[in-house]
């Protein structure tokens, strides 16, 4: 514990959470891409199977078995039923595989209701991949998780501890112990939060960090602030801008560049006020939390997909000083 925690990309397990709509998947994909660009072999796991993570690599959907979606980046989609089947095969050596099907389905049904079971099947699979890699049985240098949204992440990462409280004995209890240890190791794991500089995402980020520190032993990594609008003007610039919006300059500019001048000036005013509204939230985030902040600029691009993932990866790379 005395040595400082390693840089984010030198850890083995990075979780990305955030409020819905902030670009959590894009940031997770960008981290995976960035790591791969630095020669790492990365497994990226999509937990909430919306199925759009692989879009960010311009690749078709993937299943529970990892598939290479970009050089050095392997992706898989979490599925608790598959996770349970794998667990049963590996740990219990249930003799007749054919009989696992209905039993697994029944267990999956119970898992929907019994607390923590679904979560443990999710986090268990993730941590298992990391342990396999640490012990040389799997090739992952880094596992990146496009994790549950802020509302569910604590239940998910806290599942091993919660299960230990509920289950007195049995193999599950023993296994949750190494899971908790691995999740709590700052040399291995970091939980990162993605936010945009808006009211609700900032509130949720601040609340989440507090809750994680109170209830979990998972180390926090960074806050990635996505879609940061550029600061257009200095104070001196702004005086000029205000002067430009007076009737006479508008008339003269219209004479030289055409009738679109008021629209262009309105556009700049809109940009300034959007930035200003967001700056308040950004400041609140920065002053409330004592975590490293990585800023990703708002991207004014037409497309989505791999090109955007690359741009975000580049921005994060710069922020990390790579």
């Amino acid at each position: 514990m005395t040595s400082p925690a390693p840089a984010l990309l030198d850890r083995r397990l990075l979780f990305f959470t955030g409020k819905g709509g902030v670009g959590k998947s894009t940031v997770a994909a960008a981290f995976a891409l960035l790591a791969a660009q630095h020669g790492k072999r990365v497994l990226v796991i999509e937990v909430d199977a919306k199925g759009n993570l692989t879009d960010l690599f311009e690749h078709g959907p993937v299943g529970f078995t990892p598939a290479e979606v970009h050089p050095g980046v392997f992706a898989m989609s979490m599925n608790t039923q598959d996770s349970l089947q794998e667990y049963l095969k590996l740990n219990l050596k249930v003799p007749v595989l054919g009989r696992i099907g209905p039993v697994a389905r029944a267990l999956d049904f119970v898992a929907n209701a019994a607390p923590g079971v679904k979560e443990i099947l999710t986090v268990g699979k993730i941590v298992w991949e990391v342990r396999e890699a640490l012990e040389g049985r799997a090739d992952w240098d880094l596992v990146v998780v496009d994790a549950a949204a802020t509302g569910h992440i604590v239940a998910q990462l806290g599942a091993p501890d919660a299960i230990r409280e509920l289950v007195a004995v049995g193999p599950v209890r023993q296994q949750t112990e190494w899971m908790s240890e691995l999740l709590a190791d700052p040399a291995i794991t970091a939980l990162n939060v993605v936010a945009t500089p808006e009211e609700m995402p900032v509130n949720e980020t601040i609340e989440l960090v507090e809750t994680v520190r109170e209830e979990l032993s998972v180390p926090m990594g960074a806050v990635v602030v996505n879609r940061v609008l550029p600061e257009l003007f200095t104070h001196a610039d702004e005086e000029i801008f205000d002067a430009l919006r007076e009737p006479e300059p508008v008339a003269r500019m219209t004479a030289s560049v055409g009738p679109g001048v008021p629209a262009v000036l309105d556009g700049a005013r809109l940009a300034v006020s959007l930035r200003r509204t967001r700056a308040v939230h950004l400041t609140r985030l920065r002053t409330t939390l004592d975590l490293p902040m990585l800023y990703v600029p708002y991207l004014f691009v037409r497309s989505h997909g791999l090109r955007v993932t690359r741009m975000v990866a580049e921005a994060i790379g710069e922020e990390l000083g790579l």
């Binding site: 709509g21 267990l107 049904f109 119970v110 049995g170 610039d237 002067a243 001048v261 262009v264 940009a271």
Partner: protein, 407 residues
């Protein structure tokens, strides 16, 4: 996006669609706002309720799930639990509108809603408290994801049944899958009526109260596996919990079926909210399709936080591009118009920034327009709500949104 969603058909559809929520809010008793996270459902729901109360009159309730703090305080909801509260008329007047009707607001408290539900359906108090005190119960109500979905619909039913309100507007909980809450009542009924649950609790029911523990579980493959994974004590806890829960079976199932009926009733409509970004829009489209496939009434699609049209204008694009390329000349021509414009080099720099910023935002505005034109056959009502430059911190902000919803 969808096979039928050609740009032309989309544009034609968008052109003929009505652009006001007013007829819908005047005709329906329940409006359910749904959509993926971060699209602004809560604000749209609150603005609709405020608009309905002030323009249409009557008693209007907005049931929100997790409002931003400032929105909650704008509605007078700070620190209030499950109870409905009247939004004071002077707050509404202060926002510049005259309330014709009465506006009420409530927040959903999942935990206490569940507790009330248990107390209502349990056969006796002993069973009720045995459930409420069960350590699995707390976990179940706070962590079982679908419990939020179900309880929101349950609360809606409960409030509607009192007949207190002319119109109830409900904001839906953020879900992993926006469809979850539609299925929640059916799933809840299925769960409590399910063969599996009966099967799971069978040994306990057969064995009488305490004899249950000695029933031969090992003979069943399900228990064999479950036992090895979870440990028998945990399994037994679960079974006992569900056994208690099952005593409420009839009440629960009837209730869930009533909730389901209410959602399908013609008095209920759904409004899907989305932004013009690829991922939320795709989800909104799937959601519209699913609502139709399940025979729910799809009333409106609200496109929220859109950029203003002028960003896509040809004149603007031309002017912006020339302000960038001819910044020096234009700046020179303005030097006599006051002290602020006396330094042409500085003015030229500002002009370039202004032009480039327009070009940047126009790229995004065009992307939005493209996504909008790809919308397949949307509902009859399609509404654009431009992004507000400031956060909503009072009812005035909601009035501003309302101006776009009631056109």
């Amino acid at each position: 996006m969808t096979p039928t969603g050609t740009g032309d058909a989309g544009r034609a559809g968008a052109g003929t669609a009505a652009s006001s929520l007013e007829p819908l809010l005047a005709a329906k008793e329940i409006v359910v706002f749904c959509g993926s996270g971060g699209v602004g459902k809560t604000s749209i729901a609150a603005a609709s309720a405020l608009g309905a109360a002030s323009r249409l009159g009557g008693k209007v309730l907005v049931l929100t799930i997790d409002p931003a703090k400032r929105l909650a305080s704008a509605l007078g909801l700070e620190g209030i639990g499950n109870t409905e509260r009247r939004v004071p008329d002077d707050l509404i007047r202060a926002a510049g509108i005259e309330p014709r009707g009465e506006l009420y607001a409530a927040m959903l408290d999942t935990k206490s809603s569940w507790d009330e539900l248990i107390l209502r359906h349990a056969p006796d108090e002993v069973t009720a408290y045995r459930i409420l005190e069960n350590r699995l119960y707390t976990n179940l109500t706070s962590r079982f994801v679908q419990s939020h979905d179900y309880i929101a619909m349950e609360r809606l039913f409960e409030i509607h049944a009192t007949g207190t309100y002319d119109l109830i507007i409900i904001d839906t909980p953020p879900t992993r899958n926006a469809l979850d809450f539609l299925e929640a009542p059916a799933r809840m009924a299925e769960f409590f009526g399910g063969r599996l649950l009966r099967w799971l609790t069978l040994p306990y029911r057969m064995g009488g109260k305490r004899g249950a523990r000695v029933i031969n579980l090992a003979s069943r493959p399900f228990y064999q596996v479950a036992d090895r994974i979870l440990g028998s004590q945990f399994l037994q806890d679960i079974a006992e919990f569900f056994l208690n829960f099952q005593s409420m079976y009839d009440g629960f199932v009837q209730r869930a079926e009533s909730v389901e009926r209410l959602l399908h009733d013609r008095r209920t409509t759904f409004a899907v909210v989305t932004t013009l970004e690829a991922a939320p829009l795709r989800e909104a489209e799937i959601f519209c399709q699913e609502l139709r496939a399940r025979d729910f009434h799809l009333g409106a699609l609200v496109l929220n936080k859109t950029l203003p049209d002028y960003l896509r204008g040809r004149d603007g694009a031309r002017a912006a591009s020339r302000l960038v390329s001819d910044s020096a000349t234009v700046a020179e021509s303005l030097t006599d118009l006051g002290e602020a414009l006396a330094d042409p080099a500085h003015t030229a720099r500002v002009l370039r920034t202004v032009g480039q910023s327009f070009e940047n935002f126009s790229v995004v505005a065009k992307r939005e327009a493209e996504l909008r034109s790809e919308l397949a056959h949307g509902p009859e009502v399609l509404i654009d709500v431009p992004g507000l430059e400031a956060d909503i911190h009072d009812l005035g902000g909601l009035v501003a949104i309302g101006d776009h919803l009631f056109r």
